[in-house]
């Protein structure tokens, strides 16, 4: 009788073993994360340590994996199942369900839930006209002032990438590289020559402390801030200040993961990954935002340019008509965004 039914313990045994293995992996991951957290609290800077796993990641078809992930997460879920899936996601990734604008049953798929909006008033904008606000929810990874003619941002201790590679051949960054930048004098501003109109401003970075004797504007430096969004965070991007967006650049690139571990082991992560850069001008001078995608969050939607598509399949990438760089009309004025306006959204896959 036992033979004819096969081994009754096979399926339950395999199921239990799988659950135990997944539990062990999750526990190990949580333990690692805790170790990293404690290290950071003790001020121990994580070193850059490329390893075999990072090299292996370069061999994987990450874009196809990302697009498959997007296909899976866009599957419409039965209404009764939705709250269970989204509560499970919220528990795993510390998402705050109370703030979701809609009842959970109204998000047809995990992808829709991921790019959810929040209840009115959930994110009050700091009213101080002199302040620059966070464009996203997330964790502050690094920030500071950039100096020198080739400004570099640390990925982690022991490895950094250049701002001009991150933003692309920006209208002012080559001027830094050549070191021939200077504050536009009021005479030049009054009667802009063709060149100054083209670059619409130039800045003194080679020697930021030297204030142009003619212009009344204060001395200016170049600053940066890197903010990491966890899977459970609110994934819409807002405007950090009142500014004019003049140019949009899209770099198709790769889709490496952007988690803590990847940041410590994959070279040039932020400069290699697919990203969308908005560049323009605010009262303080130059302003740029780079939204960088990752394997699980490969798509970046721009509310100011809905037709832009990112995370395209390789074959489409080759023949894509969309411009890699777009200057917003009217040239030199571009699109006006108020502080707190919604600008873009990260989406799954």
């Amino acid at each position: 009788n036992t033979d004819s039914q096969g081994n009754p313990f096979l399926v339950p045994g395999a199921t239990v073993a799988t659950i135990l293995m997944l539990g062990a992996l999750h526990a190990r991951r949580m333990y690692n994360d805790k170790k990293i957290e404690e290290a950071r609290e003790r001020g121990i800077e994580l070193e850059f340590q490329p390893d075999a796993k990072a090299a292996f990641l370069r061999l994987l078809p990450l874009r196809s994996i990302s697009r498959l992930w997007g296909t899976l997460t866009s599957v419409e879920l039965p209404v009764w199942l939705r709250p269970h899936v989204y509560k499970g996601w919220a528990r795993a990734f510390h998402a705050n369900l109370e703030e979701s604008a809609l009842p959970l049953e109204q998000y047809a798929s995990l992808q829709e839930f991921f790019v959810r909006t929040l209840k009115e008033g959930s994110r009050p904008i700091d009213p101080d006209p002199q302040c620059l606000v966070s464009p996203v929810d997330g964790t502050i990874l690094r920030f500071g002032e950039l100096k020198g003619v080739r400004p570099m941002i640390d990925q982690v201790k022991g490895f950094s990438y250049s701002v001009s590679s991150l933003l692309g051949a920006s209208s002012f960054l080559p001027l830094i590289a050549e070191g021939n930048v200077h504050e536009e004098s009021s005479e030049e501003e009054k009667a802009p020559t063709e060149k100054s109109k083209k670059t619409w401003w130039r800045i003194s970075l080679a020697s930021p402390k030297v204030q142009d004797p003619v212009s009344v504007s204060p001395m200016r430096g170049l600053f940066y801030c890197v903010i990491y969004l966890r899977p459970g965070d609110y994934h819409r991007v807002h405007s950090p200040v009142d500014w004019n967006v003049l140019t949009r650049r899209h770099f198709s690139g790769h889709l490496f993961p952007l988690n803590e571990r990847a940041t410590r082991t994959i070279r040039n992560l932020y400069v290699e990954n697919e990203r969308v850069v908005l560049e323009g001008r605010w009262q303080g001078g130059f302003m740029a935002i780079a939204a960088i995608g990752a394997t699980n969050v490969g798509s970046i939607k721009l509310l100011i340019e809905p037709e832009l598509r990112t995370n395209l399949p390789i074959r489409k990438l080759m023949h894509s008509e969309q411009p890699e760089e777009r200057v917003y009309e009217p040239e030199g004025i571009g699109m006006m965004l108020k502080k707190g306006n919604e600008v873009a959204a990260f989406n799954m896959g």
Binding site: Q130, P135, T139, F143, I153, G221, V226, V237, A288, I289
Partner: protein
């Protein structure tokens, strides 16, 4: 995903600067959790 901001802003006064021109400074620390609309710097 990650967002990187790069922006120009007034730099802190140099010792010999007399006038009261504004100066930008961050009001966050590495590792801080932050939300949309909260001040990064003033």
């Amino acid at each position: 995903s990650t967002v990187v901001l790069v922006f120009q802003a007034p730099v802190p006064k140099s010792p010999n600067q007399k006038d009261s021109s504004p100066e930008f400074s961050f009001c966050v620390k590495s590792g801080d959790r932050i939300r949309v609309g909260e001040a990064l710097g003033r």
